[in-house]
Protein backbone atom coordinates (compact mmCIF):
# COMPACT_ATOMS: atom_id res chain seq x y z
CA UNK A 1 0.00 0.00 0.00
CA UNK A 2 1.26 3.42 -0.90
CA UNK A 3 2.39 5.77 1.78
CA UNK A 4 0.18 8.79 1.96
CA UNK A 5 -3.25 9.68 3.27
CA UNK A 6 -4.14 7.30 6.07
CA UNK A 7 -6.81 6.87 8.70
CA UNK A 8 -6.06 8.41 12.08
CA UNK A 9 -5.10 5.05 13.56
CA UNK A 10 -2.98 3.98 10.61
CA UNK A 11 -1.25 7.33 10.74
CA UNK A 12 -0.45 6.93 14.43
CA UNK A 13 0.94 3.46 13.75
CA UNK A 14 3.09 4.89 10.97
CA UNK A 15 4.26 7.72 13.19
CA UNK A 16 5.28 5.20 15.81
CA UNK A 17 7.48 3.52 13.20
CA UNK A 18 8.97 6.90 12.28
CA UNK A 19 9.84 7.47 15.92
CA UNK A 20 11.54 4.10 16.06
CA UNK A 21 13.54 4.84 12.91
CA UNK A 22 14.56 8.37 13.83
CA UNK A 23 16.49 6.98 16.77
CA UNK A 24 19.32 5.95 14.49
CA UNK A 25 19.35 8.91 12.11
CA UNK A 26 17.44 11.72 10.51
CA UNK A 27 14.85 14.36 11.23
CA UNK A 28 11.20 13.66 11.90
CA UNK A 29 8.88 16.42 10.74
CA UNK A 30 5.33 16.66 12.05
CA UNK A 31 3.20 19.39 10.52
CA UNK A 32 -0.25 20.63 11.44
CA UNK A 33 -2.45 22.70 9.18
CA UNK A 34 -6.06 23.72 8.96
CA UNK A 35 -7.80 22.06 6.05
CA UNK A 36 -11.07 23.31 4.64
CA UNK A 37 -12.41 21.28 1.74
CA UNK A 38 -12.98 23.49 -1.26
CA UNK A 39 -15.33 22.62 -4.09
CA UNK A 40 -13.84 20.61 -6.90
CA UNK A 41 -12.94 22.01 -10.30
CA UNK A 42 -16.43 22.24 -11.66
CA UNK A 43 -18.04 23.44 -8.47
CA UNK A 44 -18.98 19.93 -7.40
CA UNK A 45 -18.16 19.35 -3.74
CA UNK A 46 -15.37 16.83 -3.29
CA UNK A 47 -16.87 15.03 -0.36
CA UNK A 48 -19.65 15.25 2.16
CA UNK A 49 -17.35 16.75 4.71
CA UNK A 50 -17.42 20.51 4.49
CA UNK A 51 -16.28 20.94 8.08
CA UNK A 52 -12.78 22.16 8.75
CA UNK A 53 -10.28 19.46 9.65
CA UNK A 54 -6.73 19.34 10.82
CA UNK A 55 -4.27 17.94 8.33
CA UNK A 56 -1.42 16.26 10.12
CA UNK A 57 1.66 15.15 8.23
CA UNK A 58 4.70 13.18 9.35
CA UNK A 59 7.82 12.81 7.29
CA UNK A 60 11.06 10.97 7.86
CA UNK A 61 13.46 11.08 4.93
CA UNK A 62 11.36 10.33 1.88
CA UNK A 63 8.61 8.53 3.78
CA UNK A 64 5.63 10.81 4.16
CA UNK A 65 2.30 9.99 5.74
CA UNK A 66 -0.67 12.14 6.53
CA UNK A 67 -4.14 12.07 7.99
CA UNK A 68 -7.14 14.34 8.45
CA UNK A 69 -8.46 14.76 11.95
CA UNK A 70 -12.06 15.78 12.45
CA UNK A 71 -13.32 17.76 15.41
CA UNK A 72 -15.10 14.76 16.86
CA UNK A 73 -11.89 12.72 16.89
CA UNK A 74 -9.54 15.41 18.08
CA UNK A 75 -9.49 14.56 21.78
CA UNK A 76 -8.65 10.95 21.14
CA UNK A 77 -6.05 11.75 18.49
CA UNK A 78 -4.40 14.44 20.57
CA UNK A 79 -4.22 12.10 23.53
CA UNK A 80 -2.52 9.37 21.52
CA UNK A 81 -0.18 11.83 19.84
CA UNK A 82 0.81 13.37 23.16
CA UNK A 83 1.57 10.03 24.74
CA UNK A 84 3.60 9.02 21.70
CA UNK A 85 5.62 12.20 21.62
CA UNK A 86 6.37 12.27 25.31
CA UNK A 87 7.29 8.61 25.27
CA UNK A 88 9.53 8.74 22.23
CA UNK A 89 11.30 12.06 22.56
CA UNK A 90 13.52 10.73 25.26
CA UNK A 91 16.83 11.93 23.93
CA UNK A 92 15.92 15.38 25.24
CA UNK A 93 17.74 16.20 28.40
CA UNK A 94 16.37 16.06 31.88
CA UNK A 95 17.54 19.19 33.61
CA UNK A 96 17.45 18.81 37.35
CA UNK A 97 15.67 21.55 39.22
CA UNK A 98 18.73 22.32 41.29
CA UNK A 99 20.86 22.79 38.23
CA UNK A 100 18.21 25.00 36.69
CA UNK A 101 18.10 27.28 39.70
CA UNK A 102 21.86 27.49 39.76
CA UNK A 103 21.77 28.27 36.03
CA UNK A 104 19.21 31.00 36.63
CA UNK A 105 21.24 32.50 39.45
CA UNK A 106 24.45 32.62 37.46
CA UNK A 107 22.56 34.07 34.51
CA UNK A 108 21.06 36.78 36.69
CA UNK A 109 24.42 37.83 38.10
Amino acid sequence: EEMGRLSNDAFLAGLDKHFANVRSAGSLFITFKRYVATPGKFGVPKSDQSEPMCLVRAKLGSKAISTLVMEKDVTRFQGSLGTMMKGNMDSLKQVEKKKKERKAKTAAV
Binding site: R23, G26, L28, F32, R34, P52, C54, V69, E71, G82
Partner: protein, 133 residues
Protein backbone atom coordinates in the same frame (compact mmCIF):
# COMPACT_ATOMS: atom_id res chain seq x y z
CA UNK B 1 10.99 51.45 14.31
CA UNK B 2 13.88 51.01 11.95
CA UNK B 3 15.30 48.06 10.13
CA UNK B 4 18.35 47.67 12.29
CA UNK B 5 20.43 46.09 9.56
CA UNK B 6 23.60 47.00 11.42
CA UNK B 7 23.03 44.17 13.86
CA UNK B 8 23.38 41.55 11.18
CA UNK B 9 20.49 40.51 8.96
CA UNK B 10 19.07 37.74 11.13
CA UNK B 11 18.44 39.75 14.26
CA UNK B 12 15.37 41.56 13.07
CA UNK B 13 12.30 42.53 15.01
CA UNK B 14 10.22 39.59 15.97
CA UNK B 15 8.25 38.43 13.00
CA UNK B 16 6.76 41.46 11.38
CA UNK B 17 9.65 42.25 9.07
CA UNK B 18 9.86 38.75 7.74
CA UNK B 19 12.81 36.44 8.04
CA UNK B 20 13.44 33.53 10.36
CA UNK B 21 13.38 34.33 14.03
CA UNK B 22 14.21 32.14 16.98
CA UNK B 23 12.26 33.10 20.05
CA UNK B 24 14.24 32.56 23.22
CA UNK B 25 11.36 31.89 25.54
CA UNK B 26 8.84 29.08 25.06
CA UNK B 27 5.93 30.96 26.54
CA UNK B 28 6.55 33.96 24.25
CA UNK B 29 6.80 31.63 21.27
CA UNK B 30 3.49 30.00 22.21
CA UNK B 31 1.76 33.37 22.60
CA UNK B 32 3.07 34.71 19.32
CA UNK B 33 2.39 31.47 17.47
CA UNK B 34 -1.20 31.31 18.64
CA UNK B 35 -1.75 34.94 17.67
CA UNK B 36 -0.27 34.35 14.25
CA UNK B 37 -2.60 31.44 13.62
CA UNK B 38 -5.64 33.45 14.72
CA UNK B 39 -4.68 36.23 12.35
CA UNK B 40 -4.18 33.93 9.34
CA UNK B 41 -5.90 30.60 10.01
CA UNK B 42 -5.92 29.60 6.38
CA UNK B 43 -2.22 30.03 5.77
CA UNK B 44 -0.54 29.28 9.06
CA UNK B 45 1.10 25.94 9.69
CA UNK B 46 2.72 24.54 12.80
CA UNK B 47 5.69 22.26 12.52
CA UNK B 48 7.63 20.10 14.92
CA UNK B 49 11.04 18.79 13.96
CA UNK B 50 12.69 16.16 16.09
CA UNK B 51 16.23 14.87 15.79
CA UNK B 52 16.87 12.05 18.20
CA UNK B 53 20.60 11.79 17.50
CA UNK B 54 21.20 15.47 18.29
CA UNK B 55 18.61 15.71 21.08
CA UNK B 56 17.04 18.66 19.31
CA UNK B 57 13.46 19.74 19.03
CA UNK B 58 12.51 22.69 16.85
CA UNK B 59 9.08 24.27 16.62
CA UNK B 60 7.97 26.55 13.83
CA UNK B 61 4.84 28.57 13.21
CA UNK B 62 4.62 30.44 9.94
CA UNK B 63 2.14 31.92 7.51
CA UNK B 64 4.87 32.27 4.90
CA UNK B 65 5.21 35.96 5.73
CA UNK B 66 6.07 35.82 9.39
CA UNK B 67 8.14 32.94 10.72
CA UNK B 68 8.54 32.08 14.37
CA UNK B 69 10.80 29.36 15.66
CA UNK B 70 11.81 27.85 18.97
CA UNK B 71 14.42 25.26 19.69
CA UNK B 72 15.09 23.20 22.75
CA UNK B 73 16.86 20.14 24.06
CA UNK B 74 14.97 19.89 27.34
CA UNK B 75 12.40 17.30 28.38
CA UNK B 76 10.67 19.82 30.58
CA UNK B 77 9.45 21.75 27.52
CA UNK B 78 7.47 18.74 26.31
CA UNK B 79 4.59 19.33 28.65
CA UNK B 80 3.99 22.83 27.35
CA UNK B 81 4.50 21.68 23.78
CA UNK B 82 1.93 18.95 24.25
CA UNK B 83 -0.57 21.61 25.26
CA UNK B 84 0.37 23.68 22.23
CA UNK B 85 -0.27 20.63 20.03
CA UNK B 86 -3.69 20.27 21.64
CA UNK B 87 -4.39 23.94 21.03
CA UNK B 88 -3.52 23.80 17.35
CA UNK B 89 -5.24 20.48 16.71
CA UNK B 90 -8.46 21.70 18.26
CA UNK B 91 -8.45 25.19 16.83
CA UNK B 92 -7.58 23.94 13.37
CA UNK B 93 -10.71 21.74 13.34
CA UNK B 94 -12.89 24.42 14.84
CA UNK B 95 -15.71 25.82 12.81
CA UNK B 96 -14.54 29.40 13.26
CA UNK B 97 -11.16 30.72 14.26
CA UNK B 98 -11.08 33.96 16.20
CA UNK B 99 -9.92 35.21 19.58
CA UNK B 100 -13.06 33.96 21.32
CA UNK B 101 -12.90 30.40 20.07
CA UNK B 102 -9.16 30.37 20.70
CA UNK B 103 -9.62 31.57 24.25
CA UNK B 104 -12.31 28.95 24.84
CA UNK B 105 -9.99 26.21 23.61
CA UNK B 106 -7.09 27.52 25.68
CA UNK B 107 -9.32 27.50 28.75
CA UNK B 108 -10.45 23.95 28.01
CA UNK B 109 -6.88 22.75 27.72
CA UNK B 110 -5.95 24.55 30.93
CA UNK B 111 -8.85 22.83 32.67
CA UNK B 112 -7.90 19.39 31.42
CA UNK B 113 -4.39 20.04 32.54
CA UNK B 114 -5.56 20.94 36.04
CA UNK B 115 -7.60 17.79 36.26
CA UNK B 116 -4.57 15.68 35.57
CA UNK B 117 -2.67 17.18 38.45
CA UNK B 118 -2.83 14.71 41.35
CA UNK B 119 -4.83 16.37 44.08
CA UNK B 120 -2.93 16.89 47.32
CA UNK B 121 -4.57 16.33 50.68
CA UNK B 122 -5.40 19.97 51.20
CA UNK B 123 -6.26 20.91 47.61
CA UNK B 124 -9.47 22.70 46.97
CA UNK B 125 -11.19 22.51 43.61
CA UNK B 126 -9.17 25.23 41.85
CA UNK B 127 -9.99 27.48 44.75
CA UNK B 128 -6.56 29.01 45.04
CA UNK B 129 -6.11 29.89 41.41
CA UNK B 130 -9.52 31.35 41.02
CA UNK B 131 -10.53 33.08 37.83
CA UNK B 132 -7.65 35.20 36.74
CA UNK B 133 -8.47 37.99 34.35
Amino acid sequence: VGRDKGRGGREQLQGREGGMVYVGNLESFVEAGQQLFISSPGKTRYLVKYRHVDSKLVLKVTDDKVCLKYKTDEQSDLKRIDRLNAFFLRLMCAHTVNSETAAAIAALIEEEDQMQVVPTASSQHSGKKGKRK
